[in-house]
């Protein structure tokens, strides 16, 4: 029997999970653990931060090629074995925007991690001898509770349209895989000649459907987690006042001194029945104040990640260009008339002091919210990053399945795709596959 120290050195693939519950908190903590965590963190940051020290770092989808900035996050690099799981791990304290969390989850999957199974962090802590033995049975209960909660969640989901959709894919994929396995294991059995062509067609169909689903504009995520509307504009344009008006309460510090709002302030409210996070950003201007400069940087970050941008200005300083997709709002029309359009987009004129034009603005925003969350396709939306990660992995393997040279490589890709979906719908065993094979084809000599 190996000693516990021998076990401790065994590598386990990296896994990740949100350590905080939902995105309702301001901060979302993503925890990653497993062999290769260092490489993943390096991919996201470029370099490893000092161990066990919190540092603010820019997260990239791929830091080496500087592709897709994801967030500026507090990063904790916790090399093993002296940590919870006993293996190399790190924590990312993210801004809790739904788009950020799901983008980071996607980046982690691309970097080679997978979503953790129920209780998996705890299991690893056991495996690496990180949990006191007297805690053992108590923790089994804890896992039971955790699993039960996830089971209920899964059950609720499996009764919904999303569950139906994933099970439908899993069933079809099992069928495809069964036919592939039949072609590999029973080539001499007089199988109908169209089997291979049919399975390729079906594989391509599945790939396309999952791809369309993944590209649905993250509508489902938006409904569940709510939308983010960023309000941007030069200092003292009245952004905080507008935010307060929309949220109907005093949240941001409003002062006549330009540049008061130095960091982004978020308020959650309801618009058109959808949860909306309003982000009041620092004024956009050149600044030498380092703290304000950080605020400006963050403002741009929020602009990039918001579902909708309100761009505020005064008539005398109307911009020549709009941020992509922004709604132009001209404040202080009690002092000077608003321009009709900027880059052919009609400008909404308001006066926060007189409270004129605010009803029209609210109506306009509600229409945008409805548009952003409207059902544009028949497929039910993706509601969980976990589902999304599984669908992404399955999609990658289906794509590969159509590109490989040999049928057994295709079989391998299909198995991996099946396994990814199986994490959501229940694993498919060899016996299930063989049942499908023998149910469909007459095999045997």
């Amino acid at each position: 029997m190996p000693t516990p120290s021998a076990l401790r050195t065994q590598p386990l693939e990296p896994i990740f999970a949100l350590a905080t519950g939902t995105a309702r908190a301001a901060i979302a903590v993503m925890r990653v653990s497993g062999t290769g965590s260092d490489a993943i963190l390096r991919r996201l940051l470029g370099t490893l931060p000092a161990p066990r020290k919190a540092s603010l770092r820019r997260l990239w989808r791929d830091a080496v090629h500087r592709t897709d900035a994801l967030d500026d996050a507090l990063v904790l690099w916790l090399p093993g074995p002296a940590n919870y799981t006993g293996e190399d791990s790190f924590e990312l304290h993210l801004h809790a925007g739904p788009a950020i969390v799901s983008a980071v989850a996607s980046a982690l999957v691309e970097a080679g991690a997978r979503p953790a199974e129920p209780g998996e962090f705890t299991r690893r802590a056991f495996l690496h001898g990180r949990i006191d033995l007297t805690e053992a049975e108590g923790i089994a209960d804890l896992i039971e509770a955790e699993t039960e909660a996830q089971r209920k969640q899964a059950l609720a989901q499996s009764e919904g349209r999303l569950g139906t959709l994933y099970r439908g894919w899993a069933d079809r994929l099992r069928n495809v895989l069964a036919r592939q396995e039949a072609l590999i294991d029973f080539p001499d059995e007089d199988l109908p000649p169209e089997v291979e062509a049919a399975l390729l067609t079906e594989t391509a169909a599945l790939r396309d459907e999952i791809s369309a689903h993944l590209a649905d504009g993250e509508r489902g995520e938006r409904i569940r987690r709510g939308l983010t509307i960023a309000i941007v504009g030069p200092p003292n344009a009245g952004k905080s006042t507008l935010l307060n008006h929309l949220a109907e309460r005093q949240a941001a510090i409003v002062s006549p001194v330009a540049g008061t709002t130095r960091d982004a302030i978020e308020i959650v409210t309801m618009l058109a029945g959808v949860r909306v996070t309003l982000v009041d950003t620092a004024g956009l201007r050149e600044t030498t104040d380092p703290i304000e400069a950080e605020g400006v940087k963050r403002a741009m970050f929020h602009v990039e990640h918001a579902d909708c941008v309100v761009q505020m200005f005064f008539a005398e300083a109307a911009p020549d260009h709009l941020l992509p997709g922004a709604l132009p709002v001209c404040n202080k029309i009690d002092l000077a008339p608003a321009p009709f359009t900027i880059e052919d987009v009609p400008v909404l004129g308001i006066s926060l002091r007189d409270e004129t034009g605010l009803a029209a603005l609210q109506e306009n925003l509600e229409r945008r919210v409805r548009e952003l969350t409207a059902s544009g396709s028949i497929a039910p939306p993706l509601t969980r990053a976990r589902h999304r990660a599984a669908a992404m992995v399955a999609h990658e393997h289906l794509k590969a399945a159509l590109a490989v040279d040999w049928p057994e490589m295709r079989g391998e890709e299909l198995r991996l795709a099946m396994r990814a979906l199986g994490r959501l719908t229940g694993e498919v065993g060899v016996e299930d596959l063989l049942d499908t094979v023998f149910g469909q084809f007459c095999i045997g000599k």
């Binding site: 386990l12 056991f126 001898g129 053992a136 396995e181 049928p407 000599k445």
Partner: protein
């Protein structure tokens, strides 16, 4: 004492022969006891060895210095590498054998094995020592044999019943008596047992078939041997013929279903899903109007059995008269004469969940089970189990610890793990789809995977070990050289390799991974194409699969990690806190050998696994 041995093997089929030879190779004084000496090594059903998945098993047996590959090479008269158009991981070496030559080859190999005695004796009873372990066997004629290890490889002989339509007779194989006393004895030991069925088609007189009118099915022009010890195949090679059932055949079968042993309810044992009798095929796939039948000669012309043809694909338990009418509806078989009718056979098997991964009965130390008695079907499955049981029987006799193969080592490991953890609900047959690590466990690398393991077990002869050592060195040096030689994209593109002009240097392994054509490789690395085919193909295959192999290696490491958390043989699951009665029962039934196996038990919840793990870690620390 004259009848005292280290290992007794009961049964001279494929499992028994491999078990006896393996035990003897490990240095154990071994006796093989058989009903009838002349049936030792007989191919009682289809005269073919290998196939897809099964061919992997033959190569693995050979890698462990077993008999089957060498015997098939000596007896093969029609070699075919199945799945040749697919990649090497699913290539299935197969050969049809001359029945007599095969049996002779096995006899020759057994007689050349040191430490091995072959005796004709009908074993009726098992003898146990006071401590409950096995101590030997007693024969029908009163003779007793003693040994600390006994391997039972009784095939379908345990309370076998043969069905020709409604006629039944007790027998293991037509013409041979069943081992009823032994079956009753095993039942009296309280072992969990079940009943299975299998079938065989009629044998036809070759002279009565219009052979030349039928489509020819030729073997490979360059037959590829099973064994690493075989340089080339010397037997003359013959062709098979192909015919097919038709609507008239199916009408006769449908009209006679009430006469079939299987369909009239006379047989209680469960048959396989994958090898349906012709009755099954017609009933379950009613929309099919035809099924292919391969006509396979059982021996070379002029040899004993050379006049017999095995019609592969038409196993049946219909009455002989119906069999004749049905067969005569097929093209080329209009005047076919049945030499021996097909039949179904029902037999007892031991629930393999009663066995450890070393194929030893948990309840009776020293008693090993191998082959069809464990619920498997096929010569290859039987032989592979026999080999492992034989090695373990010898190890036990010598006081050594048991040896096992894991799911990541070999198809043998996959099969045994499936058997002892999942049990069987139909005769178990090997398929490549059962192997999680299919691209890693290939027929072409069986020796690289297993010969070193076999050397540590003591079952590999020095001649094979030397030969293997040379191969391994050649593969290593070729792989190293192929990793070191690199090119910029320009010369590669000039040679006809499709790579992107990204300025990156690529090694020969990278180039091979793209599936580059042989002439391109010839231009770039003439030394590589000049390598012996075995070496070259190995390097190519590993390069083609490299991405997958790396992934499987990571998974295998995780498996080993969890496999190293052992569940002791005498582990008491009721002492695990927080297990529901249902979970405890599932664990007890499967008795997983380790934590990885525990996770494969169907229906076990994550919390039950956690509780088990917590308990195991606690014990490990104590």
């Amino acid at each position: 004492m004259k009848n005292q041995f280290d290992v007794i093997v009961v049964g001279g089929g494929h499992a028994g022969c491999e078990a006896a030879a393996a035990a003897a190779r490990c240095g154990a004084r071994t006796v093989l006891l058989t009903h009838r000496m002349e049936t030792v090594g007989a191919m009682s059903c289809n005269p073919a060895i290998g196939g897809i998945g099964k061919g992997h098993l033959v190569r693995e047996i050979d890698a462990l210095d077993g008999l089957m590959g060498r015997a098939a090479d000596a007896a093969g008269i029609h070699f075919k590498l199945l799945n040749r158009s697919k990649g090497p991981a699913v290539h299935g070496p197969r050969a049809q054998a001359d029945r007599g030559l095969y049996r002779d080859a096995i006899h020759t190999l057994l007689h050349a094995t040191e430490n091995l005695t072959l005796l004709e004796a009908a074993v009726d009873d098992l003898n146990l020592a006071p401590d409950g372990s096995v101590s030997g066997v007693t024969c029908e004629d009163g003779r007793t044999f003693t040994a600390p290890s006994v391997v039972i490889a009784a095939g379908t002989f345990l309370r076998g019943v043969i069905h020709f339509g409604h006629d039944t007779q007790p027998a293991g194989r037509v013409g041979d008596r069943p081992a009823n006393a032994l079956g009753r004895r095993l039942e009296a030991l309280g072992l969990p047992m079940g009943r299975l069925k299998t079938g065989t088609p009629a044998r036809l007189d070759r002279a009565s078939i219009d052979w030349e009118s039928l489509a020819e099915d030729a073997g490979d022009a360059q037959p590829e041997p099973f064994s690493r010890l075989t340089e080339r195949i010397t037997n003359p090679q013959i062709s098979c013929r192909i015919t097919a059932t038709n609507e008239r055949t199916h009408d006769i079968i449908r009209d006679s279903l009430h006469l079939s042993a299987v369909y009239s309810g006379a047989i209680a044992g469960r048959g396989p899903r994958y090898c349906p009798s012709i009755e099954d095929k017609v009933v379950r796939f009613a929309e099919r109007t035809s099924h292919q039948i391969f006509l396979e000669p059982e021996a070379l012309p002029g040899n004993p059995g050379g006049d017999l043809v095995y019609p592969n694909g038409i196993s049946t338990s219909l009455p002989p008269a119906v069999q004749e009418r049905m067969i005569r509806t097929m093209a080329g078989l209009e005047n076919a004469r049945i030499v021996r009718p097909g039949y179904a056979v029902e037999y007892d098997y031991i629930d393999p969940r009663a066995l450890t991964h070393s194929l030893e009965l948990r309840a009776i130390p020293g008693l090993f089970m191998a082959g069809q008695i464990n619920g498997t079907t096929g010569y290859e499955e039987a032989g592979a189990q026999g080999l492992l049981a034989g090695v373990n029987a010898a190890h036990r006799a010598a006081g050594n610890t048991p040896v096992t193969l894991s799911r990541s080592d070999a198809y043998i490991g996959v099969m045994i793990d499936d058997l002892v953890t999942q049990g069987v609900s139909e005769p178990y047959r090997m398929f490549t789809s059962r192997a999680e690590y299919r691209l890693t466990l290939r027929a072409d690398n069986a020796d690289l995977r297993l010969t070193p393991i076999g050397e540590t077990w003591g079952c590999v002869d020095t001649m094979r070990a030397t030969l293997f050592g040379q191969t391994r060195v050649a593969i290593q040096s070729a792989t190293e050289r192929a990793a070191q030689e690199t090119w910029l994209p320009a010369p590669l593109i000039a040679a006809g390799v499709s790579v992107s002009p990204d300025g990156r240097r690529r090694s020969l392994l990278d180039v091979l991974a793209t599936g580059a054509k042989a002439d391109a490789i010839g231009l770039l690395a003439p030394w590589f194409v000049a390598l012996p085919p075995r070496i070259r193909l190995h390097v190519e295959t590993e390069a083609r699969y490299s991405g997958y192999l790396a992934r499987q290696e990571r998974e295998i490491r995780q498996l080993h990690n969890e496999s190293s958390i052992i569940v002791p043989e005498d582990f008491d699951f009721s002492r695990v806190g927080g297990l529901s009665a249902e979970m405890r029962e599932r664990f007890e039934r499967a008795h997983p050998a380790n934590f990885a196996a525990a996770q494969r038990i169907p229906g076990v919840t994550p919390s039950a696994l956690m509780a088990l793990l917590a308990h195991l870690k606690q014990q490990q620390a104590a």
